[in-house]
Symmetry: C2
Subunit: 239 residues, 2 copies
């Protein structure tokens, strides 16, 4: 039975991290909210009082009656089922730990354009967004990228993957982080890329994987846009 992925239909957002894993696994899945009536199905499910394990928010995955939510939790679930995480327990946990650090980064990326409230428009919080983005670009983005570069560098199995010597879901997630950062903060990333050669190589290697390349070229891959997690406001990425 196909996986059912539930996520906002017009953005990459956090759902994209799950989509990349499903695509790399060659898994059979339906992106429910992008189908006919899909948004209504998703919202009805979120509000269903009969649900004993309700998700707090999308993305969530339904698989044989089981509902799994929280991006990192979904990836850990998929990772063990599709050889996208190490089998060995302590390495599986290390992979999850890295993914949770990606989660932390994504919250900060979102808050660069919405530092006051997700319920307000960007236009209602532009000065605050400019201040927050300046700190993000100066302090936080370098700290995260240097951290992941360090993890690649010290991986005992070599610098080609974050964990062990095989692809895991967190490699796919780092690809997405770099793609999103290149969209939202191209100038900042250009400044930082020189000190992150292993991350850049990882991004290129992921993009060249046959299933990922096919996905990226397909209509299933939504473009980055101004409603997603990564947004391009040139004023937040000054020269």
């Amino acid at each position: 039975m196909a996986y059912e992925l539930f996520y906002w239909p017009t953005i990459q957002g956090r759902g994209e991290f799950v989509r990349l894993a499903l695509e790399e696994a060659g898994a059979d899945y339906v992106d429910v909210a992008r189908g006919p009536g899909g948004m209504q199905i998703m919202l009805a499910l979120l509000a269903d009082p009969a649900l004993t394990e309700p998700p707090f928010a999308p993305p969530f995955l339904r698989s044989n009656g089981l509902i799994v939510a929280q991006t990192a939790n979904i990836l850990d679930y998929l990772g063990t089922r599709h050889q996208l995480a190490p089998r060995e327990e302590s390495l599986r946990r290390w992979t999850l730990q890295l993914q949770l650090t990606v989660t932390d980064l994504l919250v900060e990326v979102h808050d660069t354009h919405h530092p006051i409230a997700a319920s307000l428009y960007y236009e209602d919080q532009k000065p605050e967004a400019a201040r927050r983005s300046a700190d993000f670009v100066r302090n936080r983005l370098p700290k995260f990228l240097e951290y992941f570069e360090r993890v690649l560098q010290t991986n005992p199995a070599g610098p080609h993957h974050l964990v062990g010597d095989q692809l895991s879901y967190v490699d796919l997630s780092l690809f997405q982080v770099l793609e999103g950062t290149r969209y939202a903060f191209p100038r900042a990333l250009e400044q930082l890329a020189g000190s992150c050669p292993r991350l850049t190589a990882l991004r290129d290697a992921v993009a060249a994987r046959p299933r990922i390349a096919a996905y990226l070229a397909s209509p299933r891959r939504l473009p980055f846009n101004q409603q997603g997690l990564f947004r391009r406001y040139p004023e937040l990425d000054p020269a």
Copy 2:
């Protein structure tokens, strides 16, 4: 061998969620950074280039040479070892999912007083903090508390625990969330408490557990203060 917990020594912060689990488990542990020279030990470990699985930030736990970081990941690790999480795989994952929603809430709590940058003082971002807190109190805190109340209400094993019919680490975490919210946003919580009777009962039940009660009365329990995650700025919690 005792667990070694590494966390900032003067605040409850995210480390407190781990402390509560270790205390309830009756586990032997050392709160390293609170001991002599502990901060230096922690900072040296974070920067150690020989570390192949470096944490991004505290808290982290060392156990028999293994280092585990990210609060929810640490709790999942401890939960399976100390009967603080269900044995059954899908329930263990549901517990982790709930804890990751607690993680999301904690980021938002932090950002009520630091919406612009953690590297700046509160005093440097007071107007922004007031705007962000107003949205938090009006929209976000109710959404999170109503969600956890709903989870208690729909738990097939009854409303006394979030998962199944036994205490898990996420019950301890919700206790801490409510205690912290009562410290930081007493007026807002008073308004909301009436619609969260099961959460209130859970907080009381956790506080009355013998090991938790002994811990809370001990010098090991740091008081809430103005450096932690939950801070009391009366202007952020208006009548």
